[in-house]
Point group: C2
């Protein structure tokens, strides 16, 4: 059996008012994981490329390793599997890198051993990978990396995922400034309680956002996307956050905010032309307010599909039940 390589894309989680529950997939960049049969039992990590040596090589502490082992356990396969992880996503960027590695690993091992696991099972395995490997998991990066598109995670595990419609023309901009934010630090800023009034505004907005996606109502989407909970408390982590968001809106974005816990920012736009203009405006604002190396910029329609098998090509992959 030849090795199997799977790819899982970058994802934007939180998405304004959808803190911890909403996410969407980009076409690229993403992480790729190659799985091959190896001697012994269980999962080992042969190599990680692109992390500057910072991610754990111990499979029991690595999101991809845990996801792979969880899948093998779930399907009762005791063969040894070696993983090679190619990080296309920068660490601590807010682009769902730990989720992408976990999802790609689950997809690759699923195809390697011919388990034919459902997307729901693959999501549960990747969720476990992120929970152990990253210390916490919320599902709003995992779910879009698995299913693609724009998703709402009603319950992360066992997964109850709602695949939302994506209006024609809805286009994402993601810019990654030269900053790192640890998810744990960003989460600590939130505290354990929130004002009831802020929470009510958040769920009113989220309900309206879901309606807007169903109707293709871009005006309502623009009004509803505001985050009253997380972003106001996390704003100090990203210098010039308000100015960068303002630049996006002034250039025509429907809405903008932190991707995950940042430092990347996303914007949602109507059409690719507007998205390119928004990307330029956000880049300029980031250069002014954050500096450092030039930000990475991605402009893409929301990707309708998530993870996929890159090789071997052909009918074998993606070997999942949809």
């Amino acid at each position: 059996m030849e090795p199997v390589t799977a790819f899982a894309p970058a994802t934007v989680s939180n998405v304004g008012c959808g803190f911890d529950v909403l996410g969407f997939a980009l076409h690229e960049p993403g992480d790729a994981v190659t799985a091959a049969f190896a001697g012994g039992a269980g999962v080992r990590i042969d190599d990680i490329v692109g992390d500057d040596g910072r991610l754990p090589r111990d499979a029991r502490k690595n999101t991809a390793g845990v996801a792979a082992q969880t899948l093998l356990d779930a399907v009762g396969d005791r063969r040894g599997v070696a993983l090679t992880i190619r990080k296309g996503l920068p660490l601590s960027s807010g682009l769902g890198g730990s989720a992408a590695s976990a999802v790609a690993a689950a997809f690759a091992v699923n195809a390697l051993v011919g388990a034919g696991a459902s997307l729901e099972t693959l999501m549960a395995c990747a969720f476990e990978g992120e929970r152990i490997g990253a210390g916490s998991a919320h599902g709003d990066n995992i779910a879009p990396a698995v299913y693609g598109g724009f998703v709402l995670v009603r319950v992360p595990n066992p997964p109850d995922v709602v695949r939302l419609p994506v209006p024609a023309g809805l286009t994402a901009v993601v810019v990654h400034p030269d900053l790192e934010i640890e998810t744990a630090r960003a989460r600590a800023l939130l505290g354990s309680e929130v004002p009831l009034g802020d929470a009510i505004r958040q769920w009113a907005n989220l309900g309206a956002l879901v309606d807007a996606l169903h109707r293709g109502d871009f005006d309502l989407l623009a009004r509803a996307i505001e985050d009253t909970i997380a972003e106001p408390r996390r704003a100090p982590l990203v210098p010039g956050l308000a100015a960068i968001k303002r630049a996006a809106i002034d250039a025509g974005a429907l809405g903008s905010g932190l991707s995950g816990s940042g430092p990347s920012l996303f914007a949602l736009c109507r059409g690719i032309e507007t998205a390119r203009r928004v990307a330029r405006a956000m880049t300029a604002a980031i250069v002014e307010h954050i500096g450092g190396r030039a930000p990475d910029v991605y402009v893409s329609p929301i990707a309708p599909t998530g993870a996929r098998i890159l090789s071997p090509a052909g009918p074998k992959g993606p070997a999942v039940q949809v």
Copy 2:
């Protein structure tokens, strides 16, 4: 100009996970308000029928009176108007009685003076009536009483109301036990802060509920309707609340909960036959756990329209811009 009588229906607000933002209209019962020109300037209340003398006769302190005066002020009409209010809704029942009176008054006065105000303006006037007359307002009773159907109030004032689709067959049961709960007391139980985790579950559920209404996905609706915020804290106000809800679910309801701040309970059901069975089961559980006089029971499809002009009939009413 002959007097104008308008009717506004009972409404169920909160609706599980939609605390303060979600509501739907019943066909009946409701309140009726008659408006007639009178001497002097401003609004006076001639009579209130069906309140056992408990509602304020001072128009400046009455939800209907304030709503009527706010509309006259908004359209710059200084004529004197006398109101007669017929309460079809019991007081402090959780059926949106103060909203119904305010909405009916706004509709009646709008038609009487020929103002042709928009539904948005009528909602804003009724909102002001409830705010002054009832001490606080949230819009999730006002909006369905104005627009009908199933609505989400993104912002109550100035109103940003999302009219949600109602799947064919979705049927409401409302039972009003022999209890009174003051809205202010029910609200005090909530406190001013809520656990972030509970709030996240609430907005995940609300987003899923909106999706379920769009898709007509009754299974998702049933999973998503759970209220993690208000009802757990208000449960002590209604003896046997958990048992009454359990009876509804066991009889086939998709979900059940307090209507507004109670004591009325609602259930949502698929089809009228199930709804009738659920109504009987809830009634039996209420007799067992609450006692008192037999509960009032309403079984009705969600009403697609809200307030309307009852008389004079004909092209003059409803004299509103839709």
